[in-house]
């Protein structure tokens, strides 16, 4: 069939359109791969110099040029664990409240408020954490805890307000809305027939929740936790404000520590020699790889659930 000029023109534009769309779609893939390659390349000097011991050495001394990631990795993991221990049960009961218990009007209101927590920028959490929450922690939580439970190593050390525990609590607040939102969607996907059947047998609301809703949505709940984990582990500014930034590993939750992200934020612009810079980029690479693995798990996990539960997440 012979095409007239307008059809030719439109066909060319169609190719151009599809090409542009494909280009930008591939750009996202390219950036992901680019991040990995660039971080790898720039951390080579440190990898050559320190090898695998970089991951296990506690030493962090810019003056003598010796760097190890152990304290940063430890701090990242501990602050994340504290955050998840607090955020997961809290999000679970809040999601239940929103879906099962609250009257629609209140549920809507509370749901919106919780989601606003996610909109507050990280640096605001940092300001509030350092100037408002840390003094509160010191006076009303750390000192009383130390008075009554001071014999436990977790609660020893100087009660300064800042430190690992405070960072974990603020992180918990920051991931709460994300975890809660996914959990809420999971609970909404439980078919009401299943719940009603249980109510019909004379179960109380809590029994329906525990034995039906939670066990029905347990995979989705796990997905929510993985997503929250991914957020908490790379959170930067809020943690940088309150964790105290010291390169040490201590059993005490009151002691200052550091995370990979906070070390980058604090020291990167001060790094005055190539090996220091390279050590910092290596830290970044470690963080990127951790979040990469978490995202891969989350991606395939949620995909599987979506298949088995049929959309909505």
């Amino acid at each position: 069939m012979e095409l007239n000029p307008i059809q030719k023109y439109n066909r060319a534009l169609d190719y151009l359109f599809k090409g542009t769309a494909a280009f930008f779609a591939l750009l996202i893939v390219a950036v992901m791969i680019g991040i990995l390659l660039q971080l790898l390349e720039n951390s080579l000097p440190a990898i050559h110099k320190f090898g695998f011991s970089f991951l296990f050495s506690q030493e962090w001394n810019p003056v003598s040029g010796k760097f190890g990631a152990a304290s940063s990795i430890y701090g990242t993991l501990i602050s994340t664990v504290i955050a998840m221990i607090l955020a997961v049960p809290l999000s679970l009961v809040i999601a239940l409240f929103l879906v099962e218990l609250a009257p629609p009007l209140i549920g809507n209101l509370v749901g919106n408020a919780i989601e606003l927590l996610a909109a507050i920028p990280s640096i605001i959490y940092g300001m509030w954490g350092l100037f408002v929450f840390a003094p509160f922690m010191e006076k009303h939580i750390q000192i009383p805890l130390q008075e009554h439970f001071g014999f436990i190593p977790l609660f020893q050390g100087p009660p300064m307000g800042i430190g690992m525990l405070s960072a974990g609590i603020i992180l918990a607040l920051m991931v709460l809305p994300f975890v809660c939102a996914v959990m809420r969607d999971v609970f909404r996907m439980v078919p009401s027939v299943v719940k009603e059947a249980s109510y019909g047998m004379g179960s109380t609301t809590w029994e329906v929740t525990r034995r039906v809703t939670i066990s029905y949505g347990v995979q989705g709940l796990l997905g929510a936790i993985i997503l929250g984990l991914g957020r908490a582990i790379g959170e930067t500014m809020a943690v940088t404000f309150v964790i105290g930034n010291s390169h040490s590993i201590s059993p005490s939750l009151f002691e200052a520590g550091n995370t990979i992200a906070s070390t980058l934020a604090n020291e990167f612009t001060e790094a005055d020699n190539p090996i220091y810079l390279s050590a910092l980029v290596s830290l970044g690479l470690v963080l990127f790889l951790i979040t990469f693995v978490i995202q891969i798990i989350a991606h395939f996990w949620l995909k599987r659930i979506r298949k088995s539960m049929g959309g909505g997440l």
Binding site: N10, R11, L13, D14, F17, K18, T20, A21, A22, F23, F24, A25, L26, L27, I28, V29, V31, M32, L39, N42, L90, V93, I94, F97, L98, L101, V110, A113, I114, E115, L116, L117, A119, I120, P121, S122, I123, I124, G126, M127, W128, V132, L176, C180, T204, T205, W206, E207, G234, T236, A261, A265, F268, T269, G284, L287, I294, Q295, A298, H299
Partner: protein, 280 residues
């Protein structure tokens, strides 16, 4: 299963209801606590010179006008790059790559990129736009923010375009409308409100970002003359001022926090109201 006596079961039920209500209350309590403190401590710093004067050394009166302009410029430039790029990527996924292998690779990358910590994006941009040119720049800051926006915009675009009924597309194509016109003229129009929501959310997400600007735009005490040099911006100014020992700098940090928080929350609330409209 051993059934406990009915009274205990009901008591436990009531207790759990109270606990879940309390947990929600705790969430709201923290939200209001943060909002309240930022307003209380920030309101005092807001005056005319705060909005009109340059950042100044501690102890000397001044404002944060250059940082406000810098933040607006960097965010606008980032949106100009990141939003169209994300829109196109979303169009690809919804129109061309729904079930293709490439489509699922792109979708996977989007999920990974949304989860990458923003400081890592800053680090990446540092290695490609700061190291080779040997100086920090507002352009690098905008690039970092654009990279953060792109996957967010792509995902919402895909979701919103998928909501448009296929029959609408098919009728347009059947009338002989070329693909590009069908998408841009008809599908986009049908999904307009949803797309605007996505853009607003993406802008809101990056305008409060600090970490990606630390090693890219850095900060400056001068008016932003060109984005090809370190550029003043609100969030890094907050960071530097808050970490300083000077009371007047800390007060300005609170003022700037109030400003940025109000901006981000307004954008978010606007987007959410629009999103509700879109669903109707």
């Amino acid at each position: 299963m051993i059934l406990r006596p009915s009274r205990n079961r009901k008591l436990f039920d009531v207790i759990m209801k109270i606990v879940s209500g309390l947990a929600s209350f705790i969430g709201i309590l923290f939200l209001t606590w943060i909002l309240f403190e930022v307003v209380r401590k920030g309101a005092g710093a807001l005056n005319i010179s705060f909005f009109t004067e340059l950042t100044s050394p501690a102890g000397i009166a001044g404002g944060v006008a250059n940082a406000i302009i810098g933040t607006v410029l960097i965010t606008l430039l980032a949106a100009l790059i990141g939003v169209p790029a994300g829109l196109f990527a979303g169009v690809y996924l919804s129109e061309f790559g729904s079930y293709s292998r490439l489509g699922s690779l792109v979708r996977f990358s989007i999920n990974v990129m949304i989860g990458v910590p923003s400081i890592i994006v800053g680090l990446f941009v540092y290695t490609i736009l700061v190291l080779p040119f040997k100086h920090f720049s507002g352009y690098a800051g905008a690039a970092a923010l654009a990279i953060i926006m792109m996957p967010v915009a792509a995902r919402t675009t895909e979701d919103m375009l998928n909501l448009v009924p296929n029959s609408l597309k098919e009728s347009a194509l059947a009338l002989g409308t070329p693909r590009w016109r069908t998408t841009l003229g008809i599908v986009f129009r049908a999904a307009k409100t949803g797309l605007i929501t996505g853009v607003l959310l993406a802008v809101a997400r990056v305008s409060g970002e600090t970490a990606p600007l630390l090693f890219t735009a850095m900060n400056s005490q001068y008016w932003p003359k060109s984005l090809n040099e370190p550029t003043a911006n609100l969030t890094i100014t907050i960071f530097n001022y808050a970490m300083s020992p000077y009371a007047d700098w800390q007060e300005k940090a609170w003022g700037a926090s109030l400003l940025i928080m109000t901006g981000v929350l307004l954008l978010t609330i606007l987007a959410r109201i629009l999103a509700k409209e879109a669903k109707k």
